[in-house]
Symmetry: C2
Subunit: 273 residues, 2 copies
């Protein structure tokens, strides 16, 4: 992502800044056409309902992707509850603030083709069922988890919750195949329910499970994915110290799910190996 094309400002009393009282979406847009738009709007709507923030009119939202301009972009929407209220007490009638920025975007084809090395994070995600699955603005845990490494060869970090169950990566969802079945962590206590995850779960049989990281040792294939980057096969998993713990050889199993995900995003669906 490079420089934003729009730089809106918010007042310091905006509740999104003061309390993280709001939601966001990051949407892949190709020549003004958003990918997985219904899924993004559905998640935003669920977040609005859960937080009691009025959802902006569809007409207002639907016009934004076209304004991102030509080429491959990431459109970032931020919806806050706006200003007002008394401390944490929200104003009875909120006037939400909708911000958007569009960034040039280039995906990482080497991650698609060769897979990625990832590591376990030490941080354990806290469990809050009232916020689980939402893409809300309280993301300090993700920031802290992402600060655990700066080795550019490590593409992502895998996170468990405080009960030791697998949840996600710092900005991607986690999938694996075990005994021929696709599985992904259940997100009823922590994590962000990704839109790529949602659409894959609509189209394929993917079981939501509550399991510790030891399950990955039984996996034939592991992937990380989101609606912007596509699907990255995991070829190596390190522990939180950076020592190799598990590895996988890229094969047809990896390519099958990757192809299905990439068709949805307009990314390459077949690879040399």
């Amino acid at each position: 992502m490079t420089r934003p094309q729009v730089e809106p400002w918010v007042p310091a009393d905006d509740r999104g800044l003061a309390y993280g009282d709001g939601l966001f979406e990051t949407i892949l847009v190709r020549d003004g056409e958003p990918l997985l738009w219904p899924q993004h709007m559905a998640r935003l709507g669920r977040g609005c309902q859960r937080l009691g923030i009025p959802m902006p009119a569809a007409a207002e939202l639907d016009g934004l992707p076209a304004q991102a301009g030509p080429g491959l972009k990431v459109l970032k929407l931020i919806l806050t509850r706006g200003s007002g209220g008394r401390g944490y007490f929200a104003p009875p009638i909120a006037k939400p603030r909708l911000l958007w920025q569009a960034f040039d975007f280039a995906p990482q084809p080497q991650h698609w083709e060769s897979g990625v090395r990832v590591r376990h994070c030490r941080l354990q995600l806290s469990i809050q069922p009232l916020l689980a699955g939402l893409k809300h603005l309280n993301r300090l845990e993700n920031v802290l988890a992402r600060s655990e490494w700066d080795d550019p060869d490590v593409a992502e970090g895998v996170l468990c919750d405080t009960q030791g169950h697998l949840v996600e990566a710092t900005c991607m969802n986690l999938f694996w195949q075990r005994r021929g079945c696709l599985e992904t962590p259940r997100l009823d206590g922590s994590g962000v329910a990704g839109t790529l995850r949602a659409v894959l779960m609509e189209r394929l049989e993917i079981n939501e499970v509550t399991m510790g990281p030891e399950v990955l040792a039984e996996a034939e294939a592991v992937w990380l994915g989101n609606s912007v980057q596509g699907l990255w096969p995991v070829v190596r998993l390190d522990d939180a110290d950076g020592s190799r713990q598990l590895n996988w050889t890229l094969g047809p199993v990896h390519r099958t799910l990757q192809g299905k995900a990439h068709e949805l995003l307009g990314y390459p669906a077949t690879f040399a190996r």
Copy 2:
């Protein structure tokens, strides 16, 4: 609190807005003199250290309270990590953004004198030891908890964590006396370590405990307090449906701790009963 005297703005790419990646302090200021300033700066410093945000120079911070102007004010500081970085990955050299606003403030003497009615909240605070105690910008749980009631006769809500242990109120710390000893919840998993709590713990023997709400039935006195409002005796505790669960009669025990807290804040230290 009424209208702010300063209305700064932040760009939409500020990480405080994007992720709640920052800290805040709300400081009582009387005629330009801040109350509990060392405790506020100590907590801000701990937060900076934990999040890896450079602490602003003391000279910059120390000059702010005087700018709040004459009278009784609340000075709100927000310190964000600033803009930049790649997604959750923080910029290696952060340029933090320091904002401040000053609000006219009037405390609530009726709460000091007659005590308050509070209720249990349904929301259980999530457990994240890496963030516990800090006054960071990820406060959606407080917002959701505060949204559980709008009865103006209910002054605060008492919160437990997901393990069922008492933590705090939505914007105040919790204290009680039991068998002649002062106690307050340990804040190693959730909650904000208040500055009034900190200074009271420096001066008095107050035990930090990990206990469920049933302990309150054994309490001779219960209080809520923070560095802005002072100390409120609790005279009635309702369950999450609003039905009375416990009550206390105001007495000398209440007034003793209240007097010590209020001396620190320049609030009235003696009451008629």
